[in-house]
Structure formats: C-alpha cells, structure tokens
C-alpha cells in the first residue's frame, strides 16, 4: 500500500508524449470555442483541452441544440447540429498560441477538419503545430452538416479514407496524431484498424451518435427547430455512456485496433471517468456535463478520482488502467453453471411491489405475494391481487368511532408481511431485474447458490457435443 499521506499522482502522458496534470480534457466542442474560455477552464482545473475543430470557414444556424429529459432530470441526452468553429482560422491559431504560452503545463490539442486534399491537411497541420499545439485530433466523426460535404463522419465511415488522410497527416506531423472515431458505423474496429494502419498515435472515441431527440407535438416540428425544419444531429450526454464504454472496450480488446485511447461519451463524474480508464483508456474527454454545469465540475472529478485511488491503493493512473479489460469476454466464454438468486431483505423492504410486477410481467414469474394468507396463494396473477384490494372497504380511521383497535398483531418488519414479496429461489433464473427496479439500496441482493457444478462455458459444452448445429434461439 502506498503512503496514505501522499496524494496519488493523477497526471497522464498521453501516447507517452502529451502531458496533462490530470486525465480530464475538454472535448472539442462549444466549451473550447475560444482562448478566453479555455484559459478559464484551465483556471478551474482542466488538464487539457481539445480546441473546437478548426478548418475551412462555415456558417452556423440557430437554433442548434435539443435535449432529452428523463423523469424530471434535465439533459439526460443532448443533441447538436452545430458545425465546426465559425471563427477565422488565424484568430483560433493566435489564441492557441497565447493559451499555450500562458498555460504551458496544460495540454492543448488542435482538432482539425479540412477537405480531403493532401495539401490542405499538410497546411493545417503545419499551422496548428506552429501555433504550439501539443497534439492533433483528426475530426473524422462529426455526423451532421460537414459529412454532407465529404468531411467528418463521411471520412470516418470509410476505412480507406481514414487510412489515407491519417497517413497524409503523419507525413507532416511532429506531434502525436489522434483519430477521433465516429460511432455511426456497424463495427468501430474496422475504422480503428484503418487509423492504426495510417500511422495514428492514438484514438479518441466516441464522437456523437446520429439522433433526432424529439418532436414538438403541437407543431410536429422535430427539435431543434430551424425555421420550421430540423436535421439529424449528434447525440451525447449521460445517455450515450454505455454505448461509448462498449466501443472503448471493442477498440482496446482488438490487437489490430489497440492504440492509446482518449475515452469520450457521457462522462459526467469521476466514476464515469474511472470506468473508461478501467477499460484501457489513457484519459477522458468531457463536454455535455460542462455545457450543463460549467467548468467547475472538474474539481469534483479530480477530487473523486484521487480519493478513490487512495482508497484502492493506486498511486498512479497506470496502476489501474485497463484492469477490467480481461473481464469482458465473448458470451461463449461465460460460465453456464454460475447460479445466483434474488434475496429480499425483509427489514429493508418498503412494500412498493415493483419487483413483483417486474418479475411477473418482465421476467420469469418467480416472485410471489403469499407471505400472508390469501386464498389464491402464489397462483394469483397481479391483476387478481389488485382486484382483490379494490374490493376491500377502507374507511378514514377515527379513533372515537373505531372502537375495535386495529392492532394487527406482532408484525416482524416495518412493512406488513402481506406486502413483502417472496422469491421462489428454485424458479429464480438470477436475471437481476428485481434488484434493478427496487428503489431501496441493498434491499434485494443477488446471492450465489452453490450448485456443486464445475465451471463450463458454452464453447466448452459444445466442443464435447457431436451436435455442432445447436444454436441459441
């Protein structure tokens, strides 16, 4: 165990070359639109910033964003149709240079997108590096607008283009080159391999996902509304994290794709960041959470990460980077003889019966409401139980009028026994659903049952079987 008094070192050196005091970079997006913003971000504690993509001049529309709220929470997902920077190239380059001078310890990465011409790429690489950029990120991922003009994801969806442009950039670049991957493709590894073949020093993933977030039910116009019309945008925010994590694992688990990876996609707090690092990412990039709450969130991220590392005994990021990679396997390698069942901890149950209805309608009908005597036992369907309740005559309790005390005997738990579900452990398939819907922390746990069977995967089981045509349906 490292000395508890020494703060863990959370600095990273991406691809062995790009130093940043912590693994938290701002992704190329509105929060990195200009030098003034990036400097305020560095003052707040961000370790690096990928500049809002520079390239040929464009014009933006208004409006540009739309979001998906969930259960009263704002911006579970965010969608945008904003293009690359709409500021002149020389202004961006001058500001990059100024930021680098004032903040030598923080990483500044230039995100680039120009038309698919070798000279154009050579020129912008030269200009960015002359301005002092610590690295380059090739934007092959932007899914809206630019892709219609043969740039962004139009490049990133064609492995040959990706490889070709990456190699053009590498002809000129002196700093590390990251290729930013689009998720709008059936297998992200195909493009990751192409980037690697083109000589990329690293990857960043994922860019935003093609999306239409919603439609105004009064006007029938999808959001965001641009004068009565909309266009598909790029989706990001907490909603996309699981998709991004999977893609990070796919890239890091594939030897032909594997490169230093900057993880992106719905990272909102230090726990999200740690997950990406555990799947092999070298650092992470954040955008939506900053657009929601501002640069200040980085303090909680850095502090949370350092405290977790201290608790786990890690002194530097590389101590745990990629630790979970080996834990992701193809399904055929999973142990078919591993058996868990749901246990309801009666003393914590509040009697909402969400597990009961979930198991009946969404799983395997093995949670029952039969602890207190009802005539139908565990054969009653949820609808029958509900109908029975509605037949019951209820009255406002008025002590003066209710002579007979409503003493219901000694109940062992705070929740009446009649409302605490029971798991049929023999029938339970261990799917987890009840524990997922339960609103109370630790009330339903999934417990391993020792069935005395040796571990056996599908691959092992079918290898011994003469019937090779068995399949999963």
């Amino acid at each position: 165990m490292p000395d508890q008094n020494i703060a863990p070192d959370i600095s990273v050196r991406f691809a062995g070359k790009i130093y940043s005091p912590n693994p938290f970079w701002l992704a190329s997006a509105p929060p990195t639109n200009c030098g003034e913003q990036v400097m305020r971000a560095f003052d707040a504690g961000w370790g690096g910033a990928v500049w809002k993509t520079i390239g040929d001049p464009i014009v933006n529309v208004s409006s540009r964003y739309s979001s998906v709220d969930w259960n009263g929470q704002r911006m579970m997902g965010l969608n945008n149709i904003e293009l690359i920077t709409d500021r002149p190239l020389e202004v961006n380059l001058r500001e990059i240079s100024e930021v680098k001078k004032r903040y030598p310890k923080q990483a500044v990465i230039a995100s680039l997108m120009v038309e698919s011409k070798r000279e154009a790429w050579h020129q912008i690489v030269q200009q960015s590096e002359d301005a002092g950029a610590d690295g380059l990120e090739l934007n092959f991922g932007c899914p809206h607008g630019m892709s219609e003009r043969g740039m962004g994801s139009a490049v990133g969806q064609v492995p040959e283009y990706t490889e070709m442009i990456t190699s053009w950039v590498k002809e000129k670049a002196r700093t590390p080159v990251l290729v930013k991957l689009t998720p709008n493709i059936s297998d992200i590894r195909v493009v990751a391999r192409a980037a690697k073949r083109g000589g990329a020093d690293g990857l960043s993933a994922i860019n935003t996902i093609n999306s239409i977030t919603g439609i105004d039910l009064d006007t029938f116009i999808p959001r965001p509304n641009v004068d009565g019309k909309s266009s598909h945008g790029g989706y990001c925010g907490p909603a996309v994290k699981p998709i991004a994590l999977n893609m990070a694992q796919q890239v890091q688990g594939d030897p032909e794709s594997q490169l230093p990876l900057s993880g992106i996609g719905g990272i909102s707090d230090w726990r999200d960041a740690v997950e990406f690092l555990l799947l092999g990412c070298s650092n992470v990039q954040v955008c939506t959470a900053v657009m929601h709450y501002g640069y200040r969130i980085v303090e909680e991220m850095a502090d949370g990460l350092a405290n977790w590392m201290r608790e786990k005994g890690f002194s530097k990021i590389s101590d745990f980077q990629g630790l979970s990679l080996a834990r992701v396997q193809d399904w055929k390698h999973l142990n078919l003889n591993y058996k868990i069942v749901a246990r309801i901890h009666e003393e914590k149950c509040i009697g909402c019966q969400l597990c009961y209805t979930a198991c009946w309608d969404g799983a395997h009908q093995c949670i029952h409401m039969d602890r207190a005597g009802t005539s139908n036992g565990h054969h009653a369907t949820p609808a029958m139980r509900e109908a029975e309740s509605r037949q019951h005559i209820a009255m406002t309790p008025i002590p003066k009028l209710d002579h007979a005390s409503s003493g219901n005997g000694a109940e062992p738990f705070a929740t009446p026994l009649a409302r605490i579900p029971r798991v049929d452990e023999v029938e339970c398939v261990g799917c987890n659903l009840c524990s997922l819907v339960c609103p109370v922390e630790g009330c339903i746990t999934m417990e391993q049952v020792d069935n005395h069977l040796p571990s056996q995967s599908w691959e092992e089981r079918t290898a011994n079987s003469s019937n090779s045509a068995r399949k999963c349906d």
Binding site: G72, L354, E386, A394, I398
Partner: protein, 446 residues
C-alpha cells in the same frame, strides 16, 4: 344584505382565509409526480376509501396528460376536487405512502390531485357519461351532501334518472356550508357540483322532506330512495346560560361566515370540544379577528377526536387548550346583552373511565363568545318517520357492500350511517351503493 355588501364580505373572506395548501405550479407538480415510485397494488390506493388509482393519476400528471389524470380521479371519486383539499391525507393516502418506511417525505398526493382537478375545472371540461342511453328507473336522494352527490352522479352516468331533494338553498352539504374556508371554498364546492348537475341530475332545493306522508310519496314515485341526510345540529350546552344568543354552535358559526356574510366574532372566544369541527371553528375565530381563542375539553390530547396535524396547526396559530375541564355556567352582563365569562371546573377520570369533578378546581375564563362543538346529534325525528329503516345508536344500519337498509326501498350512506367521518367516506358509500342500486334497477326494469 345588498350585493355590494356581499361582494365586500367575500373579498374580506378570501383575504382572511388564504388557502393552507396552496396549489402546485406546473413544474413543481411534475417534479413531485416524478418522485412517485408507481407502486404496484399501491397502499395509497388501498387506503383511500374511494380507491382512487393514485399511481396512475400521478403518472399521467408526470406525462403531461392532465385531462386523463382528472378522469382517472373522477372515475373513482366524483368529488375528487374537494377531497383533494379536505381529505386528512396524513391518515389516508399520504399516510400509507411507502416512502414513510424509507425515511423520505411521502408524495404530496392531495396537492397533485388538486393540480389535476383544478386544470380540469379551468378547462371547463365535463364529466363523461358512461352511456348515452336514457334508462328506465327513477331514484330519489334526500340531502345534497357528498354521499348523495356521489350516489346520484354514478347512477346518472349510467343513464338512470335521479332527483335530489335538499332543504337548503345550495347543494354540497358540509362541503359547501361546513368545511373551513381555508381548506375548501364554498365556490369551489359549488363549481364541482355544477358538473354533476350538468350530467342531468335534478336538484330540488328548499324541499324539506319530513314526516311519513312525504316519505310515502317518494316511495310511490321512485324505485328507490337514498338517505344521505347526514347528522343533525350540534348538541347544545346543557348548562345555565347555554342558550344565550352569544352562544353559537360551531357549524352555524362556520356556515355563517362561509355563506351568510357573518364575519363578526367575539374578542375572546371559548370553543367547547376538541374534534375537527372545534378546531375548524377555533381557527376561523382567529382568522376573523378574535384576540383570544381557547378550546376547552373534558379529556386530554390522547382522547380528542381532532387529527393530530389539525391540533398542531391550531396551536401554532395561537389557540389555547384547557384539558380535563368542562363548562359549568355561562355568565352574562347584568343587562343580559353580553357574555362575560365561562365558569369551568376540572375533572378527572375514575378507574371505570367516568369523569368526576375535582372539588375546589373551579376556574373562570373571561370571554364574550362561546362556540359549542360537542358533536352533532342524529336526526332522530326524521329517522323515526322512516319506518322499517333500522337504526342503532342513532345511525342507520346498512349492509356495508350495498348500502341497503332494513327497508328494501331505502339505501343510505355518509354521516347518517358512519356516525360522521370524512367527505371521502361519504363518496365511497354513495358510489358503492349506486353500483348495487344500478344492478337492482336493471333487474326491476328488465
């Protein structure tokens, strides 16, 4: 009283009786609705005497479907708007919320219900009929309180003809005349009943039914008669001075300020009794400007019939309480014009529970108004005229599931059956009974 005076009085009423549970705004309602766990076979629904599908109406609020939410409420409880304001939710739906067992604030079901119902009324929506068919079968209700209204609405929605006979000039019973104004305004009660009238229920106001002959007439004209007569007047204080004009019983007092424009109150007020009506009267006296309001009760907090939250609120508003005390005499000025004081004595409970005066414990409370709130007496005279309808301790005996009395023509529900509970209990009685009567009507007119 002139119109101008009436308007002035109602403006003053609104100023003096601000609502104790202000409505939600749109965003707060949705935030609160989203907290609901959507329990299965929910305890809140089970606890509600009318079994409103609470998680369902809350889910609809969360989904921006306020009309659907209101109709879910109305389907179970036609007086959903007034119940959302007057229900003692702490001992009903909100008291049953599973969040209590999770150290969390229960869902504010009452306020959410009001949110849906207010929107429904503001949009001028109508209560839907369950059939467009006009069916054979005529039913009469005596009394236009919550039990009769729920009974009548249910049968009318099913296409039967219903007539309500009410001795007063306005419908609603205690909802209109007797509920504290800071909980439910008479105007809100009347707005809600207007929807029932719009269904085609026939109201006859100022129509006192009493005596065997008028009942016999009803029996002849109608297939069935529903007794939703409630309880009678508040019992009088049987002590010297108890009949002084400065002694105003709690229901008369409340009715006076709510619908009679009587906003005058004494400077020092003593309320006798510690039920919810006593609390309502005491808190009204505070709002009307009484400087000193005292409640006198012959037992203690544990025995009072007021809900604990009502008691706590009254205490916060400065109402004083005298426990284990009873009035002996009301003293007035020499010219008999004004009450001057109430003579009281402390009592104690013997081992058998009976109360005995403690000698030498006499004390005096100076006051200029006395409000008895010692329970409503049953309408014995009326009940005696309903021959064949069996009663027990002044309450009509019915089959709980069908509301059927011992007389096959008569059904009953509400306070006259349950001894005086809540609006929601009366609505539940009325609706359950209507379901049973509908089946009978179909049989009779098959």
């Amino acid at each position: 009283m002139s119109t101008a005076n009436t308007r002035e009085a109602s403006a003053e009423l609104i100023a003096r009786f601000p609502e104790i549970h202000p409505p939600f705004d749109q965003v707060s309602a949705i935030t609160e609705a989203n907290r609901c766990l959507y329990c299965f076979d929910a305890p809140c629904t089970a606890a509600c005497p009318t079994h409103i599908d609470v998680p369902r109406f809350i889910k609809k609020i969360a989904q921006g479907n306020l009309r659907g939410s209101a109709l879910t409420i109305l389907d179970a409880n036609i007086l959903g708007a007034s119940c959302s304001r007057v229900c003692p939710v702490d001992v009903l739906c909100e008291g049953a919320c599973v969040y209590h067992r999770y150290n969390k604030q229960p869902i504010e079901i009452g306020r959410l219900q009001r949110h849906a119902m207010d929107a429904f009324h503001q949009n001028g929506a109508a209560v839907p009929r369950k059939t467009t068919e006009q069916r054979a079968g005529r039913v009469a209700c005596i009394g236009a309180g919550p039990a009769s209204l729920a009974f009548a609405a249910e049968l009318r929605q099913r296409g039967f003809a219903v007539t309500i006979f009410e001795s007063k000039l306005l419908p609603g019973g205690l909802n209109t005349y007797g509920v504290a104004e800071y909980k439910l305004r008479s105007s809100d009660s009347l707005r809600e009943i207007e929807l029932i009238r719009a269904l085609g229920v026939d109201f006859r106001f100022g129509a006192a039914i009493s005596g065997e002959s008028s009942l016999a007439q009803l029996e002849k004209e109608y297939d069935f008669v529903f007794l939703g007569i409630g309880l009678g007047v508040i019992r009088t204080l049987d002590i010297p001075g108890g009949n002084h004009p400065g002694v105003v019983d709690a229901l008369k007092f409340i009715e006076g300020y709510k619908t009679g424009g009587k906003l005058a109150v004494g400077r020092s007020v003593v309320v006798v009794g510690a039920g919810n009506t006593a609390i309502d009267a005491a808190r009204a006296a505070v709002r009307l400007g009484a400087e000193d309001v005292q409640i006198l009760y012959r037992r203690d907090e544990q025995s009072m019939s007021a809900f604990l939250f009502e008691y706590e609120q009254a205490k916060r508003e400065g109402v004083g309480f005298h426990w284990w005390a009873k009035p002996v005499e009301i003293r007035h000025s020499q010219d008999k014009q004004k009450i001057e004081a109430m003579e009281c004595v402390h009592v104690q409970a013997a081992s058998d529970g009976s109360l005995g005066e403690i000698s030498g414990s006499q004390f005096q409370i100076s006051c200029d108004m006395v409000i008895p709130a010692i329970g409503q007496s049953p309408l014995l005279e009326f009940l005696q005229a309903c021959r064949g309808v069996r009663t027990e301790s002044g309450r009509i005996v019915v089959d709980r599931l069908t509301g059927r009395t011992a007389h096959s023509k008569y059904f009953a529900g509400g306070d006259c059956v349950n001894g005086g509970r809540e609006v929601v209990d009366a609505v539940a009685d009325g609706k359950r009974t209507a379901t049973a009567v509908a089946a009978l009507l179909e049989e009779v007119h098959a």
